[in-house]
Amino acid sequence: MSDRIFGGIGLALAAFYVWAATTIELSFISDPVGPKTFPFIIGGLFALASLAILLRPDAPPEWPSMTRLAEIAAGVAVMVAYVYLLPSAGFVIATALGTAYLSWRLGAAPVSAVVAGLATSGGIFVVFHLVLGLTLAKGPLGI
């Protein structure tokens, strides 16, 4: 069943893709093929492949339980939050927080997770910024 839904979504995506390709404006410079043809070919291939998956599905994958899905969603949310925090809080603080959260959720005890966060963030800062001279996001502390 999972594969059938996947194929269905694929077909919808393909339809959207082909529609988006029809809206490509033509420029006054042109060649015999133009900017639309190759996207149409890709859209067609995409639709065919989706259809084949829909018609001949594999055995369904092992879906994680709702709690595991929530875990992943929370992990993704933290990564997104990390990205938004980066310019304002700076690299060291944001990375320490992000690492601590991920370590904790991957099974580290809270205290060791915090230590891992500080160590990872400090380690990356020293190696990549101080030694290798890479630009990292600057925060209020200047680091």
């Binding site: 490509i24 084949a52 991920l102 966060g117 990872t120 630009t135």
Partner: protein, 518 residues
């Protein structure tokens, strides 16, 4: 002896203090990355690639660093295969079959030593093969026009799923998905924006580095998050029930080396061919090498029970395949495997277009790289024999500390290139997409290839059509093009008939060994 002169020139380019240092660092990091379960050559190179650019390395040093990582990872994969019965990366799967039984019999040191030597022989001769074969392939490639190139790209995509692919629709889906993403951005030929929906960030298209790091590295982190809760208890149990294996002295006696030499040499040839041919790659190279040795030698039924030749064969095979896979990547600009696709991304971001012209326009890069591979290989042998104990200790770093580090280094690398938080968000999005597609068994490599090659493929199609004035039959206009199309069709259809069998063969070999071993 053009090749020899070129190679000498290559050594001139490669042997500088900086390049040697980078090769050493690359070898060291690569071995660690290969040894760690969950990180393999593709995601290892993917994570380190943005860093190499942010540091402003030139094309030759950057390539030397990253190919050293690639070769190093092929060496490192064997360590956890032998010590933990967990393959460090995909091609090292076959090494578990005899490596772990050897380790359980107290011969871990010997297994590590003989597999290290086999890795050296495999990649050493494969690098010679690369130096000899690539220039010949270039001569053929110079005959290619746009129509032939278009057919060649089609061939690469058709065979990418590999012979063991069980669902070609999913490989095709992935290729189309990647190609579709490549179309985002301003069209290079007419200057009109495509699929950008008015979002300014999308005018430049999606940077393939962002996609690669998201798909390969972040999705791995999400997979670990998925399995961290419920299964961790059983994983812990498995780790505890597994007795800690003493490594012992990592040396192999001369007689053991001689005993394994025929197996290593045969496996090198098989692995190299598997690497060169599209659709095979290192995993299949090591499988075929192991299967062939088992056929030839299994009179006394020792394979799967700790036969040193069963360790030497797959390791020589997969390392030779790693070298072989560089042949089509450098000579044609068309990678045949995941890691070489990532290396192609390296070249493209350095504004170096691989393919026949690379050999005439930038001989420094090509031959410097090949020379560096020889040097890296010697370094790897030197690192891997005495220091294998250190690498084995790295295996003890638990994923709960390692995976966050992987995520953060990915962020640092991408941020270092563009300084754009938009790119970081796109990377997270690709991480989620990668996690979802893995669930559906959609291969990720064709997506990467599509994103990388999509614009080149379209450009060749349009050039061919401009030459022929819009006559589509020009795509099949030369015998060479027709041959390429036939190979593409054959390569796509073959797995539909034999894919399940090959895959079942690999699974069966694993099962048998598991039954015997424990």
């Amino acid at each position: 002896m053009d090749t020899l002169a070129n190679l000498m020139h290559g050594f001139d380019v490669a042997v500088t203090f900086q390049n040697m240092g980078l090769a050493l660092i690359g070898c060291f990091l690569g071995t660690i990355i290969g040894a760690l379960p969950g990180l393999g050559p593709s995601n290892g190179v993917a994570i380190l690639m943005p860093l190499a650019f942010s540091l402003g390395l030139g094309p030759t040093p950057a390539l030397i660093l990253l190919t050293s990582v690639y070769y190093g990872a092929m060496y490192g994969g064997r360590i956890s295969s032998i010590l933990l019965n967990i393959p460090g990366d995909e091609p090292a799967v076959m090494t578990t079959l005899d490596g772990y039984p050897m380790a359980r019999a107290g011969r871990a040191g010997e297994a590590l030593a003989i597999s290290g030597i086999a890795s050296f022989i495999g990649s050493f001769f494969a690098t010679i093969g690369l130096a000899l074969l690539a220039p010949q392939l270039v001569k053929v490639a110079l005959l290619f026009g746009p129509a032939e190139y278009f057919a060649l790209f089609a061939l690469a995509f058709a065979t990418l799923g590999g012979i063991s692919s069980t669902n070609q629709a999913k490989s095709a889906w992935a290729a189309a998905f990647g190609l579709g993403i490549a179309m985002i951005g301003v069209d290079g030929q007419t200057g009109v924006p495509r699929f950008s929906f008015g979002i300014v960030h999308l005018y430049d298209g999606i940077d393939f580095l962002v996609a690669i790091v998201g798909l390969f590295a972040l999705s791995e982190v999400l997979i670990f998050l998925e399995h961290s809760g419920g299964t961790s208890a059983s994983a812990k149990e498995a780790q505890q029930s597994r007795p800690a294996i003493a490594i012992g002295r990592p040396v192999a006696s001369f007689s053991l080396i001689r005993y394994c030499t025929p197996a290593m040499l045969r496996s090198t040839v098989i692995g190299f061919l598997a690497g060169v041919l599209p659709g095979a790659g290192a995993s299949l190279g090591s499988f075929m090498a192991y299967a062939a040795e088992k056929q030839i030698n299994n009179g006394k039924d020792t394979f799967g029970k700790g036969d040193p030749r069963g360790v030497a064969a797959p390791e020589a095979g997969n390392n030779a395949a790693a070298g072989g896979a560089l042949v089509p990547m450098l000579a044609l600009g068309v990678p045949g495997s995941g890691t070489t696709a990532v290396l192609l991304a390296v070249l493209l971001s350095l504004n170096v277009t691989p393919g026949p012209l690379l050999f005439t326009n930038n001989p420094d890069i090509v031959w410097g790289l090949i020379a560096a591979l020889f040097i890296a290989n010697v370094m790897l042998l030197a690192l891997n024999l005495p220091m294998v104990g250190i690498f084995a200790r790295v295996l003890l770093i638990p994923p709960k500390y390692l995976m966050p580090l992987v995520a953060m280094v990915s962020f640092v690398g991408i941020y270092g290139i563009s300084g754009s938080t938009f790119d970081l968000l796109v990377m997270v999005l690709f991480g989620v997409i990668g996690w979802g597609l893995r669930k559906f068994d959609i291969p990720l490599v064709p997506i990467i290839m599509g994103i990388l090659l999509g614009n080149l493929m379209e450009a060749n199609l349009r050039r061919a059509m401009t030459i022929s004035n819009g006559d589509w039959s020009a795509l099949f206009g030369s015998p060479l093009a027709i041959a390429l199309w036939l190979f593409a069709a054959f390569g796509f259809l073959l797995p539909i008939f034999v894919g399940r069998k090959v895959k079942a063969g690999i699974e069966q070999a694993r099962e048998e060994a598991r039954d015997l071993g424990i």
